[in-house]
Amino acid sequence: MNTFSNAVEPLRLYEQLLLIRAYENAIVRGSTEGRIPGTCTSVGQEAAAVGAINALSADDLILTNHRSAGHLLARGADPGRMLAEVMGRRDGYCMGKSGSLHISVKELGVVLTTTIVGGELSLAPGVALAQTMQGRPGIVACFFGDGAACEGSFHESLNLAALWNLPVLYICENNQWQAFVHRREAMSRERVADWGAGYGIPVRTVDGNDVFAVLEATREAASQVRDTRRPALLEMTTYRTRGHFEPDDQGYVDKAELAAWLARDPIAICRDRLIAAGRLAPAADAELAARVDSRIATAVAFAAASPFPAVEELTLDVYA
């Protein structure tokens, strides 16, 4: 792959994929056992998150949504504080006020995370306007789903960003599902890119399960946005291989479709490529997995030990 050679630290990307998967699996286990509230996991979509986030620079700002664990972890968020937030604890990034669906981490540039589907689209132009008018270098990466692309805010946001020359990189993770509705039942076209093309901005679709392809495509799109100070749209084709919100028996999912996508697991793809390129020996792989598992175990313990907020905090931070 031409993209492969450009990846500075392919093993780091691989480790992030593993970390996200391990994190999500810990939540799945915890929620089955009633220890951790259910969430929207990003299992199956790790490559889209890791490839995209690693193509951004520290100056860039990120808006994301309910399915954000991959974005946060790839950006360097602490899984312990994330889990504490999921569990509604004091040490969560949002002091337990958010829970799993809208974790913002301002210090990492992950701003205004919202679970109103389409909400991130309506906020992104303003964040980019503030960057531009205050002469800040960073661009704004706005992650959203194929479902969000069906909301009117998609149209309003792309039109405004194109019209006002705002540096927004729209990153659509088209995972074929909108909660319990298949993309086919919701979109008149197969691709969000088909809609994006109408705004006179660069639009591209990439295989969202290939972390190296995502990295490369995002780098290219991000530098286009950075250079032109105009928006671009990047669509990542991927699949939500677990249910919408844990627990979810996926009884409504077409088994053949799921199987086909499971056969294209982003972690397996990355692993195979690293092995083929001689960059990953089985022992090293096991070591990475162990390291990741122990990080997550520590994180779970940290979160579980964190206290619930005091009832007095109920009305804290409503008004500035």
Partner: protein, 322 residues
């Protein structure tokens, strides 16, 4: 009597009304997936999944209603109604009037609201008062499976747009549902318990907290009358005034923000029309002026619980300063 959850009672009412009237259709984000039995019985044209776009879901319900159908649109969680306010308020609520009565809008909007799932303020926001404040709309919020079924049937048959709110905390609570399938008229409160000393007026899950409070008050010799409003619009003003005039002491309880909530309307009504019969100040117990936090103990703390209700009733029942 069969026992059903509130969620299943909604499904039952939908099925019964769809069976009865072929103009009833249902659509929303996932309704065909989650209530697949309706698709099986009524077909994929009458029960549909939609794109993720509340505005057009509601707008389509409004247009279809004006065109002669009786749509039920499932908009999932109440905060998502923010994307459908224009369609519900400016179109469904106003276009009949603005057209001089040329159209009517027999549609129902379903939405879940309230504490119980711990997923935070963008899923849990009790905004029923907005719709009470808006002309042309009716608003219903049942507290039991039986009421959910009966009231939903009436809402579907009503020729006006009805915002039908389902309390998340009650959704999977089982309750008895009678065999008879009659609709229950909108606009009638239910007296769940008679009493002489204090009235506890509420709707949704806090009705049950009022009942618990009434139980414990009874052990202290205070008899509380418990009123479940059920319909928030039309509001059963007669029932509210009757209980207030009877007991002279009222606690109004809901989960929504106190400020300009339904409790404010009830208290205002009493200050206007039951003033001379009140023996003590009205007490409102409502949620704080804060978004609802995700964290479990904080979420619980936003909901008036039985203890607080009983304490308020006790305060009112104590001799009042002159």
């Amino acid at each position: 009597m069969p026992t059903l959850t509130l969620n299943d009672a909604v499904g039952l009412a939908l099925a019964e009304e769809m069976r009865r009237d072929h103009k009833v259709i249902a659509f929303g984000e996932g309704i065909a997936t989650k209530r697949h039995e309706l698709v099986t019985e009524f077909g994929a044209l009458r029960v549909r999944n939609t794109p993720l776009a509340e505005g057009i879901i509601a707008g389509t319900a409004v247009g279809a209603a004006a065109g002669g159908l009786r749509p039920v649109a499932d908009l999932l969680f109440a905060p998502f109604l923010c994307y459908a306010m224009d369609e519900l308020v400016n179109s469904a609520g106003k276009l009949r009037y603005m057209s001089g009565g040329q159209f009517s809008f027999p549609l129902v909007t379903l939405a879940m609201t309230g504490a119980g799932w711990g997923i935070g303020a963008q899923h849990n926001h009790n905004i029923e008062a907005w719709f009470v404040h808006s002309p042309g709309l009716k608003v219903v919020m049942p507290s039991t499976p039986a009421d959910a079924r009966g009231l939903l049937k009436a809402a579907i048959r009503d020729d006006n747009p009805v915002v039908f709110l389902l309390d998340i905390g009650l959704l999977y609570q089982p309750g008895e549902v009678p065999h008879e399938a009659d609709p229950m008229p909108l606009g009638q409160a239910a007296t769940l318990r008679s009493g002489n000393d204090v009235s506890l007026i509420s709707y949704g899950k806090t009705v049950h907290h009022c009942e618990q409070a009434a139980e414990s008050l009874a052990t202290e010799g205070i008899t509380a009358e418990v009123i479940d409003l059920r319909s928030l619009k039309p509001l059963d003003e007669a029932a509210i005034l009757a209980t207030a005039r009877k007991t002279g002491r009222v606690v109004v309880v809901h989960e929504a923000n106190r400020l300009c909530g339904v409790g404010a309307e009830v208290a205002a009504l009493l200050a206007e029309q039951a003033f001379t019969r009140l023996k003590a100040p009205v007490i409102r117990l409502g949620g704080p002026d804060a978004p609802v936090p995700s964290s479990f103990p904080l979420e619980q703390a936003t909901v008036p619980q039985a203890d607080a209700i009983a304490a308020a009733a006790r305060r009112l029942s104590a001799p009042q300063p002159a």
